[in-house]
């Protein structure tokens, strides 16, 4: 493999300074009109890692271990496998009959229920969800918190029937975000007041880009959630009407198809 060809039109020292201003793949050089091979393979590696993150299965036992000693429930959506999950977001938003029956039996009455959904990155959930739950619990210590629900083949709205069945005033869905080339383990938090099947995305608040490569830390995300959640309980709502210039959290706009 030949070494990357630098772009001699702009001195290397200038490019080095420019590259510090953006994570974009600038100043890659070229071979003829094409990318140098090293850049091609680097791109393929990033894509492969993102693809693997999309298709990875959640190791539920390991996640449960990381959450211990918190009580945990397991559910799955109505999407039986990854291929179906990717094609049928509607199935990923509802519980399988078995899981619905299990939760109906459990019932409950809590201020908050946390749901951990694999979403589009089980890799991200495996790496960071347990820590994020702990950080959020620390922030919400005075509230009554239900069992943590681990949900497989889950979309954001799966939190609605789960929260409803467990009698949650607020459902907090922690879910793996769609992997990008630079970050494949980012998590998002979607908070819904009075969760029930049929809630619209405009009724949720989203805190996205929670990851260790320049994204929000678990503590920062937990602080934002703490503020939003107390406001939601006080004002009895969530979503666009809770938008506040004081917080960096944006109302959910259907950008992330999780």
């Amino acid at each position: 493999m030949s070494p990357p060809v630098s772009n001699d039109m702009v001195p290397g020292e200038l490019w080095a300074r420019l590259r510090q201003t953006t994570p974009a793949r600038i100043a890659l050089g070229r071979v003829g009109h094409a990318l140098p091979l090293g850049e091609v393979l680097d791109f393929q590696l990033a894509h492969a890692r993102a693809r693997d993150a999309v298709h990875a299965a959640l190791d539920v036992a390991a996640l449960e271990g990381a959450l211990a000693p918190l009580p945990v429930r397991h559910v799955e959506s109505d999407a039986p496998d990854r291929a179906t999950y990717l094609r049928r977001p509607d199935l990923g938003r509802r519980l399988s009959p078995r899981s619905a029956a299990l939760l109906a039996e459990t019932g409950g009455r809590h201020d908050v229920v946390f749901v951990i959904g694999d979403g589009l990155s089980a890799t991200g959930v495996q790496a960071g969800a347990a820590r994020l739950v702990q950080a959020c619990r620390t922030e919400l210590g005075d509230l009554s918190i239900g069992p943590v629900v681990i949900a497989q083949q889950a979309r954001v709205a799966l939190g609605d029937p789960i929260g409803e069945a467990l009698g949650a005033r607020v459902c907090v869905m922690i879910i793996g975000e769609r992997p990008g080339l630079s970050v494949n383990d980012s998590l998002g938090i979607y908070m819904t007041f009075a969760p029930r099947t049929g809630r619209s995305d405009a009724e949720r608040n989203c805190i996205s880009n929670i990851h260790g490569a320049g994204g929000l830390s678990p503590q920062e995300a937990a602080r934002t959630l703490g503020w939003l959640l107390r406001e939601a309980l006080r004002r009895q709502l969530s979503g666009v009407d809770l938008k506040d210039d004081q917080t960096p959290a944006l109302p959910f706009e259907d950008q992330n198809p999780a």
């Binding site: 060809v5 630098s6 772009n7 001699d8 039109m9 702009v10 001195p11 200038l14 490019w15 300074r17 420019l18 590259r19 201003t21 953006t22 994570p23 974009a24 793949r25 600038i26 100043a27 890659l28 050089g29 070229r30 009109h33 094409a34 990318l35 850049e39 791109f43 393929q44 990033a46 894509h47 993102a50 693809r51 993150a53 999309v54 990717l86 094609r87 049928r88 977001p89 509607d90 589009l120 769609r178 992997p179 990008g180 080339l181 630079s182 970050v183 494949n184 320049g214 944006l250 259907d254 198809p257």
Partner: protein, 471 residues
Amino acid sequence: MSAVEVSILPFTCDLGGERHSFEDLRAVLAAASPARSGDELAGLAATSATQRVAARWVLADLPLTVFLSETVVPYERDEVTRLIIDSHDAAAFAPIAHLTVGGFRDWLLSEAADTAALAGIARGVTPEMAAAVSKLMRAQDLIAVAKKIRVVTAFRSTIGLPGRLSTRLQPNHPADDPRGIAAAVLDGLLHGVGDAVIGVNPATDSVPAATTLIRMLDELRERYAIPTQSCVLTHVTNALTIMERGAPVDLVFQSVAGSEAANAGFGIDLAVLREAHGAARALGRGTVGQNAMYFETGQGSALSANAHHGVDQQTMEARAYAVARAFDPLLVNTVVGFIGPEYLYDGKQIIRAGLEDHFCGKLLGLPMGCDVCYTNHAEADQDDMDSLMTLLTVAGCSFLICVPGSDDVMLSYQSLSNHDALYLRSVMGLRPAPEFEAWLAETGIAAPDGKLRSLTDGASSFVRRLAESLA
């Protein structure tokens, strides 16, 4: 030919003794579409491969006039339908008014349908006619007809001339850092990219942040006399506010869809687009033309807003082009693979959709480009994008979107790279817009023969000055 009898009953045909009936025009259109996940998700797709072909036989025998008498989305309930019907040009339609959808396909491929004839009928073609005929066309038909259509628009550069391929330079940054955006602009310019527009998607919805970027891009363009236009792709209502405050807005951008309800999901209606179009035109900032709007579309946007009215996603997409053409845009592109595998599952579906969108847009008279792209949860890769960009360029696509190294670090998806523009121009002998081509030569980015300078030639004094001012 197989034993086929198309019944005089509406929407029914017999294929070798097997009867296929379709409830209404929407059902015929949906079942005739090539297979795609979005129509399956909506429960509208053909139930078998045979039924799909049956729908095409039925569609082929429908007169084009059926689309004027029967609307797929009710006229009373939808302003996009009202726009389509009320702005239909009967005189332009006259030369094709006697044709069936199948006859229209044959006419489009015939020598009679030359560039002038195709320009003549554009305002007589409705989106539903365009979508319908595209469902009877193979990929090569979509390419061959689009190639004959010429749509030329202009602002500071001229888009769509023969022998040209333009590009949008998309220098997005995850935190809207003006210096990072400027660095990506430099990278694009040095690849000869950016003659269609230098267009940034801002990471936030903030008016002050968008205004900062608009001023930065305009200053850069002014200082180096770059014959192109800039655009910050913020919501049209933000653009109105920004224009009111006197910031230098070249192009006004908006995502548009094919029904009133889907557009409401984007927070827009035709009235606000009309207002923005008027405001942008009033600024009079174009030098070689005054096409001041930029629209993006994409199959699946209506369904994702549950605003598709039981209509297949490709027909809904074509209806978005009726919205776009009401405002004489400089640029329109489908963001074909962005929306995800629940609408276009894999490379095959993305490629087909990209060719359909380009064809339908051109047939309706739009300056059609494409964001050749995919997400990491779609079954697609760079080979699929290479195929689609090559096919679209053969089809005469007006412009393509390029980002550094194919990696959009703000929107987390893969578009074309700046290098891809070099490949396409090289293998197909195409050049950028004439104004921009002259600028590339004057500044020494390109050699006198129009080719980008070899990397070992060293920097022209201009490029050195440009890079130093940005670093």
